[in-house]
């Protein structure tokens, strides 16, 4: 009970000194809880949407594409319309409706602007069925009638200011359909962002599926009292158990839809939790420092407790109890902040076009429990070592003149262990760069990263001594005696400086590592583009990667001033090598001009001959694996067509990123085995301008594709720029998430300084008494802060560049051949950390300056 009382008293007495530790716990817990609430809410939203919109039983063709797939020829797999009547006759069926829908469409307005989502949500065109009434209601106008009318969902209408009578164009593989909006229907559940247009059934069949008497699905509604499972059985019976169809109950259909969504959500969830984990790790340093300093400052007090009879265990426990209290307070606030954070995230997603409703906000009971547990456990773990140290305080400490706690020495054993770990990590990283297998290398990379990180943390105090001295030669000496005082202060407790710097090091190491990998990616790709790409222009759907509809391809072919245009499609096939091994492979079918567009090296044979009739090429790895030589015959069973016997005319080098391992055939060869309406659309198109007409051709291509806004024309410069932007965007997101860890680390610097100022009150008073001006005092604290921040930055950036370089050497096996260290980024980060140091010292320096000289001198201990 007394332990409890002293803990609570101490906690309350030092609440100011614990405030920043509490904030660190709060931030980390908030991030974890925010992530959980946000992903749970997204799950709820999709769950509701998919469950409500799914019929009791869905019948679809066996080979129907999954939600994530695109039909190669632009027309979804379908079943005959007669199946609807067949199903309708089954027992327990109230209603069976044919649904004709496609997600391989683009909807544009009269200004040729894409009406679809920019966030990856699909654009769906469908016929209007009674089933749609489950999740939608018509709010104005009426359901589409005839081929010239469409109905659009209310969210899309609102976003793009569409009204009844406005014209839309629906671009599908079968052609463009122009129609006027005749009605608007609103979702009765949250629609996270899909754009939906409804057509009249005949129009949907003809325009989306390319035939008048087919449907994509049969939607079955049960009579009342008939369970979904029973309905599924009776429908299966009515279809004679035909293996050509796939039957799903409402739950199965919703689950299948959710699985494709869930994978994405899981990736997001675990990535964000990973970043929260890093923030926790950084927070540990802050908490360790706080408790170490509290214990040091209380040495005399603890000595007194021991002198009057407290056991080590009691002292130890009283410190841990304080940690528990800190953990509880921080986590509770964190859980609340986490819910707020998730609402903020939802608002942010809404702003970029992904609608989520706070009505669906889902806080599972596990969320606060996880948050609280994590917060408390991490805090107590972090306080464990300082608590043990408190337990070791001798009763004699009560009698000693405490003054400032003795300088902590870094300790040679610790340094030895740290050096050993760092050396082992360095060796692992070196092995990584020499690895010739990616899997093996990545294990060494992970090991190397982990060991060097731990090693650096362990030798942090030792490094603090070396680095701070070096830094002070360069920076602090400029500031004369004030600089020297700052240097001494930063050095007086290397453990504290080491831990504070290490916290910053972790975040910055990741930043440096990723920036090296990212910029190496861009440099490698650019280098390869320069080396192997001969085409002037590339046409593709840069966003969703949809194939190019024939009418858009025709528009490209019609552009004047082009020396050639290359069609490029991708076919699925079962390929049997001469050694009898059969596997599913992809085949690249292109015009022979493709050889000029993307130059490939033939290791044997002649690539030009591979574009001859019934000829093909294979990649180096495949050839090696299956013992294929030029002149061998391959058996290629096209998925949508007949089986062909093709002769291998060339083996291409796999030392490339573009089309690595691709097997090439001429488009005409592919077309002779696949029916015209099953031929896939172009995945990409390439073009080369006539000599000297590059500019005109570029402009002409752009205007030719203006009607098809999802496809972009890029010249080589655009392409490189886009690549750079994409990598840059990805890095920015990661940096944004790492910002949390860096903020916690900066709080750590503030915390260390603030507690140091408290600890050095008497010293500050003395210095002020003998003539140190306020300005000099503040400068001294700022310089100390800058040196700590630069120390952390130097370690972090150095470590990160080492990781990044090792990672690049490893990824060189995968084609990341150019190492590019982004010096501007690295130097900017370094300079910014000096600013961060200044910023962190703001409050502590202000408070130190405001101290009353006399009171400071009179302060006890």
């Amino acid at each position: 009970m007394t332990v409890w009382k002293t803990s609570v008293r101490n906690f309350l007495a030092h609440k100011g000194r614990m405030a920043l530790s509490a904030v660190a716990v709060l931030l980390s817990v908030a991030f974890v809880c925010g992530t959980l609430v946000f992903t749970d809410t997204m799950n709820t939203t999709f769950d509701k949407l998919f469950t409500i919109s799914s019929p009791d039983v869905t019948v679809s063709p066996k080979d129907a594409e999954g939600a994530e797939e695109q039909p190669g020829n632009g027309k979804p797999a379908s079943l005959p319309a007669s199946v609807v009547q067949q199903v309708a006759k089954a027992d327990g069926v109230e209603r069976a409706e044919g649904s004709a829908f496609s997600m391989a469409v683009t909807v544009v307005n009269s200004e040729n602007e894409n009406m679809g989502s920019q966030t990856g949500a699909p654009t769906i065109a469908s016929n209007w069925t009674k089933n749609d009434l489950r999740s939608m209601e018509i709010t104005s106008g009426h359901a589409p009638r005839g081929p010239t009318e469409v109905m659009v969902d209310a969210d899309t209408a609102k976003k793009h200011k569409l009204g009844i009578g406005d014209e839309l164009r629906i671009i599908a593989a079968t052609g463009d359909l122009r129609a006027k909006i005749g009605g608007i229907a609103a979702f009765t559940v949250t629609n996270p962002g899909a754009a939906v247009v409804y057509l009249d059934t005949a129009t949907a069949q003809k325009h989306l599926l390319g035939a008048p008497d087919v449907f994509t699905q049969v939607l079955v509604t049960a009579e009342s009292g008939v369970s979904d499972a029973r309905l599924k059985e009776s429908v299966a019976a009515a279809l004679d158990g035909s293996a050509a169809y796939k039957l799903q109950t409402q739950k199965e259909a919703a689950d299948a839809n959710k699985d494709s969504m869930g994978a994405f959500l899981d990736v997001m969830k675990y990535a964000m939790l990973g970043f929260a984990g890093i923030a926790f790790l950084v927070g540990i340093f802050l908490i360790v420092n706080t408790f170490s300093m509290l214990v040091a400052q209380r040495t005399r007090e603890i000595g007194l407790m021991r002198a009057i009879g407290s056991s080590r265990k009691q002292v130890n426990r009283s410190v841990l109890l304080e940690a528990v209290l800190l953990g509880i307070v921080g986590s509770l606030l964190g859980v609340a902040a986490g819910v707020g954070l998730s609402v903020g995230l939802m608002k942010m997603m809404s702003a970029v076009g992904m609608e989520l409703s706070t009505g669906d906000l889902t806080v599972a009971w596990t969320t606060p429990v996880i948050g609280l547990l994590l917060g408390v456990v991490v805090t107590v773990l972090a306080a464990y070592i300082p608590a043990r140290r408190a337990g070791k305080v001798s009763p004699m400490a009560a009698l000693r003149d405490a003054g400032t706690p003795a300088d902590g020495r870094s300790g040679w054993i610790r340094a030895g262990i740290g050096l050993l770990l760092t050396a082992a990590g360095g060796a692992a990283l070196w092995v990584t760069t020499q690895a010739d297998k990616a899997t093996e290398g990545s294990m060494y990379l992970a090991l190397g990263v982990l060991l060097t990180l731990i090693g650096f943390i362990v030798i942090g105090p030792l490094l603090a001594g070396v680095v701070v001295r070096a830094l002070s030669v360069v920076v602090l000496r400029l500031f004369g005696p004030v600089g020297r005082l700052a240097e001494r202060n930063a050095l007086r407790n290397p453990r504290r400086t080491g831990a504070t710097g290490a916290a910053l090091m972790i975040g910055l190491a990741l930043v440096a590592c990723l920036s090296v990998v990212g910029s190496s990616m861009v440099a490698s790709a650019t280098e390869e583009l320069d080396r192997s790409v001969g085409a002037d222009f590339i046409v593709q759907d840069g966003g969703a990667g949809r194939p190019i509809v024939p009418q858009a391809a025709d528009a490209v072919h019609a552009v004047p001033g082009l020396e050639h245009v290359t069609d490029y499609a991708f076919l699925k096939a079962k390929i049997t090598a001469p050694n009898g091994k059969t596997a599913d492979e992809g085949i690249t079918a292109a015009d022979p001009t493709y050889q000029q567009d993307v130059r490939r090296t033939a290791l044997s044979g002649d690539l030009a001959e591979a574009y001859g009739k019934d000829a093909m090429s294979v990649g180096e790895d495949y050839a090696e694996k299956h013992g294929v030589k030029v002149g061998d015959t391959m058996t290629v069973a096209f998925k949508e067509g007949k089986t062909a016997k093709l002769t291998v005319a060339a083996i291409t080098s796999d030392d490339t990123n573009i089309d690595r391992g691709a097997m090439y055939v001429n488009l005409t060869t592919a077309a002779s085995y696949v029916a015209a309406d099953r031929m896939p659309q172009n995945a990409v198109m390439f073009a080369k301008a006539e000599e000297g007409k590059e500019k005109e051709a570029y402009a002409a291509l752009k205007s030719a594709l203006a009607e098809y806004p999802v496809y972009s024309v890029q010249n080589q410069a655009d392409f490189k720029e886009t690549l750079k932007d994409q990598v840059g965007q990805l890095l920015n997101i990661v940096y944004g998430l790492l910002a949390l860890a860096i903020i916690v680390a900066v709080l750590g610097v503030v915390n260390t300084l603030a507690l140091s100022v408290v600890e050095r009150t008497r010293e500050i008073g003395l210095m002020r008494a003998i003539g140190l001006s306020r300005r000099q005092l503040r400068r001294m604290i700022r310089l100390e802060s800058v040196v700590i921040a630069l120390f952390g930055a130097l370690l972090g950036l150095g470590l990160g560049m080492g990781w990044g370089t090792a990672a690049q050497k490893l990824l060189a096996l995968e084609g990341l051949e150019v190492l590019d260290i982004p010096w501007p980024t690295i130097l900017t980060v370094f300079a910014c950390s000096a600013l961060v140091g200044l910023f962190a010292a703001l409050v502590p320096a202000f408070r130190a300056g405001r101290m009353n000289v006399l009171n400071a001198i009179a302060t006890d201990g």
Binding site: D401, R484, G771, S773, R774, L854, I857
Partner: protein
């Protein structure tokens, strides 16, 4: 008892006056209304240049407050304090800091030295802060007089209490301040170490012409001074020139007796 104290007036002899510091009608009060406590009650005092002055008095008499005010560490409620011809009661913090740095030396009872600096760095700190170069010859002389030549590279934690105080004295002397204030500089030392420090202070007055003001409650310490001022209830009630320890002790006993009977 209200013994009138004659305040010695030293005539101006051109240049520096013979008075190093003087206080006029200084009042220092804490709180307001009923809780108002007067620590200094219209104190007038002159500190003679080149003399060793001790301030004595029972606890709560205001002796430390008087020293803090004279040294520009504390502000006064009313009245004026001059250091030489500078009225320090009018100075803002910045000027006051400069004045402490350049013209005043301090020796505190404990915690005089920065633990991160070694002895010589501590000694030259005020000059370093001011951006001045210490006078090498003088520094040498000071260091030798305090007998620390062997220990200049030692950190405070490696020095004994007496040695630490001697470093503090050396620091106070090194910058050649107009006046050195000591706040019970031997309060934390045993009698031998205390005697060392005190003789050294005495020597710096006799040989170097230093002006020193020291607050103490130790009659033996006070006996090293040229002049002892007695404070009681915020007023100067008595003074004594060239005292011996016995005289001081008697005087103090008198206070104690009076304190008990009143």
């Amino acid at each position: 008892m209200t013994t009138a104290v004659t305040i010695p007036r030293h005539g101006g002899t051109g240049g520096r006056t013979a008075v190093a510091a003087r206080a006029r009608q200084v009042v220092k009060a804490y709180g307001t209304g009923e809780t108002r406590v007067v620590a200094l009650d219209h104190v007038d005092v002159d500190i003679a240049r080149g003399q060793f002055t001790a301030i004595m008095g029972p606890s709560g008499s205001g002796k430390s407050t008087l020293m803090h005010c004279l040294a520009g560490l504390d502000t006064v409620t009313s009245g004026e304090i001059f250091l030489d011809e500078t009225e320090i009661t009018k100075l803002k913090d910045k000027k006051l800091t400069q004045l402490r740095r350049d013209r005043i030396g301090f020796i505190f009872q404990a915690f005089n030295l920065l633990p991160t600096l070694n002895a010589i760095e501590n000694i030259t700190l005020p000059m370093d802060i001011a951006g001045r170069k210490p006078d090498a010859g003088w520094l040498q002389q000071v260091v030798e007089t305090v007998g620390l030549a062997e220990r200049l590279k030692h950190r405070p934690t490696q020095l004994s209490g007496g040695q630490q105080q001697r470093v503090a004295v050396a620091r106070a002397l090194a910058a050649r301040p107009e006046i050195i204030f000591g706040d019970e500089p031997t309060g934390n030392l045993d009698s031998r170490a205390g005697a060392e420090v005190l003789s050294f202070l005495r020597k710096s007055v006799d040989e170097l012409g230093q002006t020193i003001v020291m607050v103490t409650h130790d009659p033996v310490a006070a006996s090293y001074a040229d002049r002892v001022l007695y404070l009681a209830d915020g007023s100067i009630v008595d003074e004594m020139h060239h005292p011996t320890a016995e005289q001081v002790l008697d005087r103090m006993k008198n206070f104690d007796a009076r304190g008990r009977t009143s």
